[in-house]
Symmetry: C2
Subunit: 336 residues, 2 copies
């Protein structure tokens, strides 16, 4: 098997993290990249990704031109959390019959939240005879695929609870902004209303779990609240006065026959006493899993995307999800 | 989709646990059963499984006759840990083009340990156009599929350690005998030599992990030692005098380029202070997963087998492993 030629679409923090990983992995090579940011255009991908070597890949701004010229084996799309926001690019890539792996949160399991878009992409991908997958740490792994995997050991499942607690102080500044660190409660509320403060993906994870278990949910809530500092917090990037926002608490609950059956909760704030992910399956048997230290969002998402590449290339054509693919796995070098 | 008609081959503790689960699940039904034990022949499967209702399935002793008459959708084979020991039954089932899911430990990943048998079964299954899978909690889940799944979140993996610690006092008497509870150290050593005390599956789990990660192992060790009681232990079924065996410590190590890269360790003894499973992935990032209380061997194995049924039926023909199948999952009722 030859080297898989990877085309990067979108070079934000995750996009360049993926490029950095690809530079160190055997069997994959970055061969082209596009980003709409004029400050990135014309720069070398290696330089932009903070690698010590140039990759000889100059960042372009026109997707069609770049894909026509590059003829990649797969495109990695990291431009937007919004499915609406990536449709045009996905349609272009599928017109060129390029398999896609993306970090677009709403694309991770769009069958319930965006059924029309999902059907359209599935049809286009089948016509193009290539697979499309979105994945990442969340959605795509820790709040859906991993709890689903654990339920396989159960004779009966009554309720699933996934909790992620993160000290936002360990994350980059844009992440801290994304969870509202330093805002007044009023400003936080406005940003929640505007949609700029909210983890995207709970509805997709919820639907993936429910469909895997064969549960019909009659209602899903997804609520965001601020975590307020009770004393002054001095972070590396930001400090927070008492009464101001130090982060986010977001919880989604899925109800079946009026009873809560899936609960997904994210607490990400400056000064969280401990960082961990936990999954609790209430059932027979009861399972309690903990990942000490949690899965680091950026590293894990970039890793899951890169590790998915061989599985996506081997997948059946159409819109795929982490439920349809074979067991996720790290890979290096020779495989059987 | 209609009801999946299940044929039981082998009605030991796991075989009947599977029958009990099938009796409670929508979408699956036990329609025939065989066991070579004359004490079981002619009895009703429901009665044998300890269910309160009869299932109208009389236990037969002749596999060929039973399968010819029953025409099942899938066979569940729980007769032996040994691949050699199930070959004849598997060949019969494949001659009738019946998909198979089995708990045979050596069949869970036989490509390295039994390549000739693996190729033969794969050929027969492809000819019959049906899939064959062996799975269970271990091998099949906690020491292979689950750590493999976790590595997907890693950019790099240096070493994988899986540790299962079990208080054998929580398990049934045959399990306690299997781990040597109550033996003298000399009797334990003889039974290890005779092969009757040893967890089977470490080599298969090791090979599954190595192949998933693309590692070539140059050496695999698999050693059994007794755990000795330091004081008198009074268990529910057995008691152990100081200096006698209260259980087993078994460890397998896989070496790559002379360095240990995978370590699988099982400690199962009366009076173990805590029961848990842990997975440690050393790499970028480092992951530490703990399942408090561990996965209960019998319940988890029966559950994983039953939960695999829809995935096996949807799998490509041939000899499959947990690496090839879509994401494992509990299921009930309606699915999409």
């Amino acid at each position: 098997m030859g080297v898989t030629r990877v085309f990067h679409v979108g070079l934000g923090p995750i996009g360049v993290a993926i490029a950095r990983q690809i530079a160190t992995r055997p069997g994959v090579r970055s061969i082209a990249a596009v980003d709409t940011d004029p400050l990135k255009g014309g720069r070398d991908l290696g330089e932009l990704a903070g690698l010590e070597k140039r990759l000889g890949v100059s960042v372009r701004d026109n997707l069609s031109d770049a894909v026509r010229k590059a003829r990649p084996d797969i495109a990695v799309v990291c431009t937007s959390s919004s499915l609406e926001g990536v449709m045009a690019d996905l349609e272009t890539l599928l017109a060129f019959r390029i398999p896609v792996v993306s970090t677009t949160e709403e694309l991770a399991y769009p069958w319930r939240s965006h059924p029309r878009h999902a059907r359209r992409l599935d049809t286009l991908a089948r016509k193009a005879r290539v697979p499309v997958l979105a994945t990442g740490v969340n959605p795509g792994f820790v709040m859906d695929a991993l709890p689903i995997m654990l339920t396989a050991a159960c004779e009966h499942v009554d309720r699933i609870t996934v909790l992620r607690v993160q000290d936002a102080g360990m994350r980059r500044l844009p992440f801290q902004h994304k969870v509202g660190v330093g805002l007044t409660p009023a400003a936080f509320a406005r940003q929640v209303t505007a949609g700029s403060i909210r983890h995207i993906g709970f509805r997709q994870s919820m639907a993936m779990i429910a469909d895997a278990c064969g549960w019909r949910l009659d209602r899903v809530t997804d609520e965001v609240a601020p975590q307020l500092a009770t004393e002054t917090i001095h972070g590396e990037h930001l400090s927070v006065a008492p009464g101001h926002v130090c982060g986010i608490v977001q919880e989604a609950v899925g109800y079946r026959s009026g009873e809560p059956i899936v609960r997904l909760r994210l607490e990400a704030y400056l000064g969280a006493p401990e960082t961990y992910d936990s999954i609790e399956i209430e059932g027979i048997p009861r399972l309690t899993m903990t990942l000490a230290g949690g899965l680091h969002g950026d590293i894990a998402t970039a890793s899951i995307v890169v590790n998915s590449i061989p599985h996506v290339l081997a997948a059946a054509p159409g819109l795929r999800t982490m439920r349809d693919l074979v067991l996720p796995s790290y890979f290096t070098g020779r495989r059987r």
